[in-house]
Amino acid sequence: MEQKEILLQVRDYRVAFYTREATVYAVNGINYDLHKGETLGIVGESGSGKTVSCMSMLKLISMPPGKIDSGSVLFGGVDLAKLKRDKIRPYRGKEIGVIFQDPMTAFNQVITIGEQMIEGHMAHFRSSRKEALARALSLFELVGIPSPESRLKDYPFQFSGGMRQRAMIAMALMCDPKMLIADEPTTALDVTIQAQIVDLVKDLRKQIGTSIIWISHDLGVVASLADRVMVMYAGYIIESASSDDLYERPLHPYTKGLLESLPSMNEDASKRLTSIGGMPPYMNKLNIGCPFAPRCKHVMDKCLKENPLLKPISADHLVACFLM
């Protein structure tokens, strides 16, 4: 891949939740760059820290109990991690747009979609209702919502799941953000609708060229969309590579296990699935060794004593494993 301008630079980023019962270490020192126009897929199971690592950048997690412990998130020369709550507002929605997972609950049920669409635009740009509504209308057309003018006056419950997710995408694009965070945007949808939404996002990406962080637990969806994929486990990035590389030559035992545990649509379906034994760890203490060691087939003594760092294996393929 040619060298492109870096839009977002995350360094040694740590987030933990301090509650009365326990401390949960959700994100444990992650490093990555997001380039301009790039789509980065973040894959992991529930609780792996994929959502927290992104939402906490915009302080969209409850703080307290959540707290950014260390690290920096450089976005256009500004460290978002150091910003106070009120100083982050100009970034929310305007510089960085968010598409939330569940289109059923992310909207306010008692306000029309149109009103919700224009709110951010009017606040960020001090635009008039008319201007904002015109923008909303053009975006509704862009994302392919039929009869957009009348649909803007509808309430969320009048939209179907797929249409609501289209409206959500349109809303995220209202202020023409440089970057989009898409948090499992197709998980709540049926496969045929999911295919429609994925196609829409591919189209939009071509037209407006925003960078996208696409969070998902579905390796299949990410494969079709992402330029680069990061796999997270227990708050660590354990592997990062171009999507071609990652799916063709997965190196970390966890990534391999994930790919093998998927029932294949091509191969002999009668063979037994390879499963990863055990279950994801509770993250109430920091690991001394590799976080995956208790479930790993190739575990060595060293893995229990020392946490492997994310190291480059080739130019664009990084793995955190002592086997490499």
Partner: protein, 330 residues
Amino acid sequence: MRNDMRTLVEIDNLHVHFPVTQGIIFKKKINEVKAVDGVSFSIRQGETMGLVGESGCGKTTTGRAILRLLDITDGTITFDGTDISKLSKKEMLPMRLRMQMIFQDPYASLNPRQSVIDIISDPLLAHRLIDRSERKDRVSDLMSMVGLDPRFMNRFPHEFSGGQRQRIGIARSLALNPEFIVCDEPIAALDVSIQAQIINLLQDLQEKIGLTYLFIAHDLSVVRHISDRIAVMYLGVIVEIAKKSALFSNPLHPYTKILLSAVPKPDPKTERQRKRIMLKGEIPSPLHKPKGCPFSTRCPYALPRCKDELPLLRTFDDDHQVACHLIKES
């Protein structure tokens, strides 16, 4: 799968309609949702029948109706030669011993106030199959069978992970030693690495005790893995039934074709080259069903005839049934 196997469950022209009412006192019926609208299929002993479709197509309603957990509007359900569709609640009781269900959401389907031993032994005590003194041994057997440590039997559901909770649900459904289990999306709520564990467990149990499954899911790759035959549902009707090899290598119904092409594959190279048949629009409301073929409003190949005339399920070579006007006998 051999064809000469005995039919265990036979569903004939099943209808489940839900009334839409208006008013509080008289509840005047103003419309009805035909969630299941004339479904017929049979399940052979020892096989896994997959039932796939998108949300709202009636697959869960079908599964629940077969177990008589819902009132049936019309049609017959024959279980091992007995018509169970008209049995009273009391008459149904002994039949319930033979058929059980695994629910979708392992968080909602276990009572949070009951310990695991209570949850698993509940069906045994309800049917008076054991007395309280034997219960520890039975539960302990069942827990080992599904890969749970029996020492945890006094714990409560919240102390277990999602995958473990699903195992508790499976142990409960096995308690009565049933022949037939309806699995309603048993892995949809689980993480990817745990899904494979549960699928393997279900397959092992089937081999060991000769269970028959109706496996309801929306994930085609999972259904392909576990099923012997697959039925595809759309808007309350079955549009195609076939052996899994035939369904995946030679899907006949346009909806099945589209559904198959919509599944994303974990392989960026083939994904890029793949040509998708895109489905326009969304599933119509079951309140306003199209008059003819339910799929005619979205079908890219729809003929004028499809809008007026409901296609019936017709059998083609070797167990392959399709409901579509476009398919000609070969």
